[in-house]
Symmetry: C2
Subunit: 226 residues, 2 copies
DNA sequence: ACATATTTTTAGGCTAATCTAAAAATTTAT
DNA sequence: ATAAATTTTTAGATTAGCCTAAAAATATGT
């Protein structure tokens, strides 16, 4: 049995999973094609193959949803991707903007034992270098209460815990601004004119960031107990 | 340029390299087919493609030799394979009989930066867990003076530094006999009847091993200076 | 409601990598 | 030196994954 699954199929499943993650309706052919940078025709082709293997549910013109088996493969892939990213950053000293492409390859290495040992070696990290949760071996994600910086009000404080945009440009911008994960911030003022915001950093510097940036930073609010 | 090379092509190049390594004549179609567990027809096909890309020199019915470019790819692959094996054993605690198949996949990860950082992280190992030399970034192997245990004479002493056979069966046998790399041995007696040999281990145990085993163990002889 | 725009599927083709069977070349043995 | 055995190549198919162009289905706008 086991009808072995190709790297390409794995990548499609991950893409479909991520599309479904936020839109709660079936993933459209076009959405998948965009995510995979391929043609709609190729997607239709692949969907049929995945459907044949019972990894997705497919109805012509109605889009696809994932089966339990398909979801399992997708979350395992995400788990592997994010654990490898932690390895690259923590052990090999790569910076957070350099690891995605390498992890994109490493996630396809086939060995359950390998990934469990890697997890242990990394001391069971719950989040990757971008603040994204690492699912456990059963595919369960740690849920964390977080808001976009853009959604906070004046005088609220919190810690940067994640990014919404994974491009090198954005991550390098954050490095230069010292807005890395773990940084404590206080929102000082919101400017209605262009929705930019002024924030206070723990080193007492005050900086203004654009609306665009504020909508790509996840903050965990800090409360009194702390 | 760069005409990107597939994993399959990489595996062929490595196989051809290893065949050429010991036979100093061109690698035959059949030898390659055996190494790759594929048909001779498929090999002819692939050879033509590799020849087209100037990675091998090919003449119909005359076998193949490797070009500089092909050799470079092969030694880089061997370098990556062996470094990953060191990682798996040293960092993730795999045993030496479990790492080959995983390294067989990891060797295809594309990132020069990754492999140089891995090398550094592992503190520039010169040999892999099986005692095989790890070529440097320029494809140069460390040469070590070694002989097969079967070729030693009575009363000679030495250290086990490598294995000729990489099967799990053999490696597990060595573990059970405490004949792991680094073990000091003294050859006590050779039995002409079946070419088995009696050796003395550093823990003062004396064991007899078969001709087959003695022909698969590399020993670095120890001399007076030590 | 019906014309237009958009999305999705189908049709037909391409390449890489594989296979089996048959033909051709080379090597070995008498 | 010729026949027999072996090796290698060619021929013809297959499958996964991709493409473009055309057709079909669905969604949108007035
Ligand atoms: Mn991938
Ligand atoms: Mn990440
Ligand atoms: Mn390989
Ligand atoms: Mn090895």
């Amino acid at each position: 049995m086991e009808s072995s699954i190709s790297q390409t199929e794995e990548n499609y499943l991950k893409a479909i999973y991520k599309i479904q993650e936020r839109a709660s309706k079936p993933a459209s052919t076009n959405a998948i094609a965009a995510a995979m940078s391929t043609s709609a025709a190729s997607v239709t082709d692949m969907i049929k193959r995945l459907s044949e293997k019972d990894l997705v549910n497919y109805e012509r013109y109605r889009g696809v949803t994932m089966t339990k088996d398909g979801q399992r493969i997708a979350t395992t892939l995400i788990r592997k991707h994010r654990l490898w990213e932690v390895f690259l950053v923590e052990k090999l000293d790569f910076s957070w903007d350099e690891v995605h492409d390498i992890a994109e390859q490493l996630e396809h290495i086939q060995s359950a034992e390998l990934i469990e040992r890697l997890d242990e070696y990394l001391e069971f990290p719950r989040f990757d270098p971008h603040g994204d949760p690492i699912p456990d071996a059963d595919g369960v994600f740690t849920h964390r209460k977080q808001v976009l910086l853009g959604e906070m009000s004046a005088n609220e404080v919190g810690v940067i815990v994640g990014v919404q945009d994974h491009t090198s440009d954005f991550l390098q911008y954050l490095d230069r601004m010292e807005l890395t994960l773990g940084t404590e911030i206080k929102l000082l003022e919101k400017y209605a004119y262009d929705d930019s915001v002024k924030i206070l950093l723990s080193n007492d510097k005050e900086i203004v960031i654009s609306k665009k940036v504020s909508q790509h930073l996840f903050i965990q609010k800090e409360f009194l107990e702390k």
